[in-house]
Amino acid sequence: MEKVLTRNIGPEQTPTDLKAYEANGGYQGLRKALRELSPKDCQTVISDSNLRGRGGAGFPTGMKWSFVPMGDSCTPGHKYLVCNADEMEPGAFKDRLLMECDPHQLIEGMILAAYTIGADVSYVFIRGEYVVAIERLRGALAECYASGLLGENILGSGFSLEMHVHPSAGRYICGEETALINALEGKRANPRAKPPFPQVSGLWGRPTIVNNVETLCNIPHIIDRGADWYKTLGRGEDSGTKMFGVSGRVKNPGCWELPMGTPIREILEVYAGGMQDGLQLRGFLPGGGSTDFLVPEHLDLAMDYNVIGKAGSRMGTGTLIILDDQTCPVGMVLNLIRFFAHESCGFCTPCREGLPWTRQVLQDIEDGRGQLEDLETLAYQVKYIGAMGNTHCALAPGAMEPLQSALKYFRDDFDRHISGGCCPYESHKVHQHQHQQIGTGA
């Protein structure tokens, strides 16, 4: 398979600087666009390529860009391009790889995106913990400014763009594009009500596009080599390649660039090396912590947005989290809900109050204090927090996805916790703990 996003990335390769990036065909897409293509042409190419957003929602990128008012339909003033590099989805680590190892690829993608929508200022809103990526991006930016790839009149084309790296102060919700915009403005990172959509009124009230790192990294290649080429890369109905990752108790956890539509079984068994010895696959979250569980019967599904969607989950970030048969599903869901409850921005009631309530119920079940009616309460929570539109943004519905599917696939485990009065997976640990207490004479 042809490596596209990771052509400069490999276990033996050092991170690329401008020279190395250009030597391997870098900035060809940009040069081509500035020379030959109008912004409208670029937008058409991206639309034709059927590129879909890699941040999790899978919204067609070309269509998103087409909502930005252009020319006379836009009131005078700035337009903004923002790269969402606030990668905080549990289980996801693909953007980090792209930024740390090939920062120029992202920058080129951003310049092209900015050119397409007519933005004159752009930001990389990056997770604060990504210190290496921040450092390398800043280094790459300096190189670009020095060589005329950023700033006034880029490569003599008349197009100008400023780019800034903005490390996040750190909230999961900043991954939601309007919360990100609020954070960038220095406000509380609460998502905004939509409409208006950021494409029309975003950063500082101006038209703004927010794209994921991986999405933007695709742009230079599509512009350079065309929509048709890009469409041939996918194995299924979606085009292009995708960064897939696997975490959990597999032999070889990691991150790989594979064609869209690669079967889950291939990712798990060929690339991740299968389950660790002695462990069986119980289920997996196909796209990070806010997606529904799938189970072994879904292993032969292709990783395509619609295919995974039909199976009752979402492809999300494409980073799988594996649940094995010796790990407690209730504990796993509790751990995720704990995270989401903590990361709720506190704006709307169902999320702010409902997630901690769910956490409390799960904690009780996990600790053996669960009661039979708790399962009804959980189902009730799924119903009223989990429905899109009931909450202000998608955080809470996402948070409820693992729980809702766990109740479907692992109902027995919940029942065993409640009837047994303890977590069946940790019974030996409880004994150990008691033993230690007796042993120390406490």
């Binding site: 009131t75 009500a193 409409p195 009124s201 009230g205 709720s344 702010r352 409902g354 009931n390 202000h392």
Partner: protein, 1001 residues
């Protein structure tokens, strides 16, 4: 008007409204928290969820938030029916026949469970997870929106087994109490305080289920509008601290429609009383004036009514110079004897009266009639009289509109000349903060956004505001939203104003700032000029009129009212030029309309040798005339009769003092700076020997044999006579119904139907129910019997509706959300723009030239501190702090002083000003006009300072800095510092709490 279907019911709704507004306007109960009628929607609480259906056949529908969903033609919603289909009408009627109230109709069982209703139950259950069950000890209990909504939605049983979150509370100053545990995170407090009122020291902090609303650290809230948090908060997080100290439930409060006397804006208020004490003041909605909000002076500045310094009995001075309390009748006899003697001697020159801008129109009118017009002084200070009469003259002749606050909020360009509006007319300033948002609304309109989409509109507009130009001597509290600020000495402000007027008329100035201001006003559709009397400089007032005039010059005169919809014609010079003046006291304009400019106190006192008796109506002359004049008066041998509420220095020199009732114990009419005559009613009967001033004067007239006045029996007749005395006052008769008015055959109750405790108040003294006090002067009764419904809005004594115990019940009294009250408008405008207005003079030459080494004194006003009466309230006095002199940082550097140091002020002698020296504490301002220093006006220690006087300044080396204020926690630790080892009685929490003494009758 689009038609929508709610539970199958067809509703005609207002175009552009959202579903929540549409439902509430139609009288349908839909619970809500975060939405506020005047602050719009953000969609955070999710409580107003309804189900929206695609069409009549759609059986599923989807949950949408009522406050975030615009109405559209034919849209279908369900609140309770669980279906988008048309209702079976017969069925509905049968069901509805069993229930009499809207509240109960919510509980009508439906065949299909409505998923919107289920979701609303889920939301309230979530909100209650962390809400403490402390309703019995919560000040909000009984008027809590959260209680109402919980009952309305029907949540009862708790399933959550976890612990409740707790928070640390903050000390927020003497006015507001903070109890964060009760918070349901609706964001209303932050949205009001920061977004609406421009405060910077209260915000949402932290996240997830630990969101915290407070300051960055304990401290006094800085906003002049902090008291509105009490009403904006749907539960008991922010409560009225003075009320807590002498607490009473809402249902036990006796209240009546009243008008704030804190300044001239004329906000409508609802004071509440129990046990003869004024407990608290709530907002009384008037869509044209104060809307939903009051300033803190208005809300908290009436504590003086309960003061120990109130005069309870009339008093007469004996030969030793000592006062003895006497019966009212006796006092009247004495006064009549003095007055009659003079009349007997046929010397009509000898009785004179001084009125008061803080007394009612009726009392002033009576006094004027009693002493005769030629012997009456309005009671303004000399310069005050000049400016206020100038303002009255302008208002009577100008073609510009003197706008209500509602109209000011539509202004798309504002010029402020010489006023720090936040401190001189606070509620107007809050309105001006909304006016600058018209730019945002314009942008929203272009973007197709509804104006009630509050967060979206703010995000869209960011810092873009309609132009506001502030020309003032010192920094103002509106500087943060001004497009342009100019610091000038008062006489130069007037020159600036005239230059703007000329620039509008086509003669550009050399000063770019002038041209910029002129352009902004000229390009506006609804420009507003705000000025006022605070600089005591009539040239400023003239210049403001000149600007408003110039804006009208090219347009055809019209009396059309500015509305929300922008005018369709494209003429930039607007027909809707507005001109508003800030005035100092609650009846300044009324008194100015009643009197003549030359009727000043000084003029009256010039004839002191011809005066035998002087009657002073509610006027502390030491605030109006100089100390020399006071001395001259008191040593002249004139017999002085004073009607007064609170003890003051002047009373020591009076021969007879009549104990006047406060506004909360009497009735009267006040004319606001908008020219709106409004009636206030007694909230509770006068105790002791206090009587309304009009009552004293009427008795005096009768006793002294005044033939015409002796015919007046009722308060209404005084109003009528006053109305007949002057064409301008003709509308007075229509201000409010007379005392014969009955609603449903009964008087209107001042007490709620739940005020059963009233009958047991004096049970410790006697088990017999006390006879209730009659009120022959008004259509209101001191009783719980009667109906608080369907009467004219000027007679609404409190807001309550079944199921709506909180102040949110107001919506049941409105014709629609944000609309006028069902009972018609409150108050009558006395002055409307003239079609053939007189052009205002544009000539002005400044008189005073600053001498080298001296500084020109300009007054600076404070919401808390500059007002005579409110500062006699303990909480307000605490906030007022000490008098100060405000200087620029350059001058501070020159004088080598910092904030809190002392500066010695040497007044340079001039005409009417004697040389004088005093020291004041220093406050450093960011913006002061060149050659000017400002002093805190209205403070007792600065009464000797005159605006415009010149002073030399130097550092006062002997100055003692005031000790830093202690915050509450420090105070309590000081208070409980053990004197001995026994537990201090101070720690008894019940001690000091007013447990309610029976009223002294």
């Amino acid at each position: 008007m689009p038609t929508i279907f709610v539970d199958g019911q067809e509703l005609q709704v207002k175009e552009g409204a959202n579903v929540l507004e549409a439902c509430l306007s139609a009288g349908i109960d839909l619970p809500y928290f975060c939405w506020h009628p005047s602050m719009g929607s953000i969609g955070s609480c999710r409580q107003c969820a309804v189900v929206q259906y695609q069409n009549a056949e759609d059986t599923n529908g989807r949950i949408v938030m009522g406050c975030m969903t615009p109405v559209s033609e034919g849209a279908r919603f369900s609140l309770n029916s669980g279906s988008g289909a048309d209702q079976d009408i017969d069925n509905a009627v049968d069901e509805a026949a069993d229930v009499t109230t809207v509240e109960a109709s919510i509980d009508v069982p439906t065949k299909v469970p409505d998923k919107g209703r289920e979701f609303r139950q889920a939301v309230i259950e979530s909100l209650m997870l962390n809400h403490p069950h402390d309703c019995p000890v919560c000040a909000e209990g009984g008027e809590c929106h959260l209680q109402d909504m919980t009952v309305m939605v029907g949540h009862r049983d708790r399933r959550y087994r976890g612990l409740k979150n707790t928070h640390r509370n903050q000390y927020l100053g003497p006015l507001i109490s903070h109890e964060m545990n009760r918070c349901i995170t609706c964001y209303r407090c932050e949205r009001f305080y920061t977004d609406y009122a421009g405060g910077t020291d209260l915000s949402a902090q932290a996240s997830h289920d630990h969101v915290y609303f407070g300051r960055h650290q304990d401290g006094v809230l800085e906003s002049e509008f902090s008291g509105n948090l009490v009403e904006v908060c749907p539960t008991g997080v922010f409560t009225d601290k003075p009320l807590l100290k002498q607490y009473s439930r809402k249902w036990d409060l006796q209240s009546a429609p009243s008008i704030c006397t804190g300044c001239a804006v004329g906000c409508n208020i609802l004071p509440g009383e129990r046990y003869g004490k004024l407990k608290r003041i709530h907002n009384r909605y008037n869509d044209e004036v104060n809307g939903y909000f009051l300033c803190d002076r208005g809300r908290f500045g009436s504590g003086y009514i309960n003061s120990d310094e109130r005069l309870n009995y009339a008093g007469v001075r004996d030969f030793n110079g000592e006062f003895s309390a006497i019966k009212g009748g006796e006092a009247i006899e004495i006064a009549a004897r003095w007055m009659k003697t003079q009349e007997g001697a046929k010397n009509t020159q000898k009785i004179v009266g001084i009125g008061s801008p803080r007394a009612s129109l009726e009392a002033n009118y009576l006094l004027r009639e009693l002493v005769g017009k030629e012997h009456f002084a309005a009671g303004f200070g000399d310069r005050e009289s000049q400016v206020i009469h100038r303002i009255a003259a302008i208002l009577k002749t100008t073609r510009a509109k003197n706008p209500s606050i509602k109209q000011m909020e539509t202004a798309d360009a504002v010029l402020i000349l010489g006023e720090d509006v936040t401190h001189t007319a606070p509620r107007v300033a809050l309105g001006l903060r909304q006016a600058v948002r018209n730019k945002a609304y314009e942008l929203a309109k272009q973007a197709g956004l509804a104006v009630w989409q509050d967060a979206a509109v703010r995000n869209l507009a960011q810092d873009q505001r309609s132009p506001m130009i502030i020309v003032s001597a010192t920094e103002t509290r509106l500087d943060d939203i001004a497009s342009q600020t100019v610091s000038l000495a008062p006489q130069e402000i007037a020159l600036f104003g005239h230059a703007v007027a000329r620039a509008i008329a086509g003669q550009p100035s050399d000063d770019a700032a002038v041209n910029e201001a002129a352009a902004a006003l000229k390009n506006a559709q609804r420009p507003l000029v705000v000025s006022g009397s605070s600089m005591l400089h009539s040239a400023i007032v003239d210049s403001a009129a000149a600007v408003a005039d110039a804006l009208l010059a090219d347009s055809t005169p019209t009396d059309s009212t500015p509305t929300d919809s922008s005018p369709t014609d494209s003429t930039p010079a607007s027909c809707n030029s507005m001109l508003s003046f800030c005035l100092p006291e609650c009846n300044s304009l009324g008194l100015a309309l009643l009197s003549e400019e030359q009727e000043t106190i000084s003029r009256l006192l010039d004839r002191a040798d011809q005066i035998d008796v002087l009657v002073i109506l509610e006027n502390n002359l030491s605030r109006r005339i100089s100390e020399q004049q006071i001395n001259k008066l008191t040593s002249s041998g004139i017999r002085i009769i004073a009607l007064e509420l609170l003890d003051n220095d002047l009373l020591a020199s009076c021969d007879l003092v009549l104990s006047a009732a406060s506004y909360a114990e009497s009735e009267g009419t006040l004319v606001s700076s908008e020219g709106r005559a409004q009636r206030y009613y007694p909230v509770f009967p006068e105790a002791y020997e206090r009587r309304a001033s009009w009552q004293w004067l009427l008795d005096l007239a009768a006793a002294s044999g005044h033939s015409e006045l002796a015919e007046l029996q009722h308060f209404d007749q005084i109003t009528e006579a006053c109305g007949a005395s002057n064409d301008l006052f003709a509308p007075l008769a229509g201000v409010s119904p007379d005392h014969n008015f009955r609603s449903h055959g009964q008087k209107i109750p001042r007490q709620t139907h739940r005020a059963s405790g009233r009958t047991a108040i004096n049970a410790d003294v006697s088990v017999h129910e006390p006879l209730r006090k009659l009120d022959p002067e008004t259509p209101l009764s001191f009783s719980m019997e009667g109906l608080n419904r369907d009467q004219p809005a000027s007679l609404t004594p409190f807001y309550w509706s079944p199921g709506w115990n909180s102040n949110q019940s107001l919506q049941k009294f409105q014709s629609e959300v944000n609309g006028p009250l069902r009972g018609g408008p409150v108050g009558q405008r006395l002055i409307e723009p003239q079609t053939n207005g007189i052009s205002q003079s544009s000539d002005f030459t400044p008189l005073r030239i600053v001498q080298k080494g001296t500084w020109q004194l300009v007054p600076i006003y404070r919401v808390h501190g500059s007002d005579e009466l409110s500062v006699r309230t303990a909480e307000v006095a605490e906030l007022a702090g000490e008098a100060f002199i405000a200087i620029s940082s350059e001058l501070a550097a020159k004088l080598e002083v910092v904030d809190g140091d002392g500066v010695k002020i040497n007044l340079v002698a001039a005409a009417g000003i004697d040389s004088f020296e005093l020291s004041l504490s220093v406050k450093i301002l960011t913006r002061v006009a060149p050659n000017c220093v400002a002093y805190s006006a209205g403070y007792s220690s600065t009464l000797a300072l005159q605006p415009g006087a010149l002073a030399q300044l130097s550092k006062d080396p002997d100055w003692q800095r005031a000790t830093p204020q202690l915050i509450a926690s420090d105070r309590s630790s000081h208070a409980s510092a053990p004197q001995n080892n026994r537990p201090s009685p101070d720690t008894d929490i019940d001690k000091g709490r007013d447990r309610g003494e029976p009223p002294h009758v």
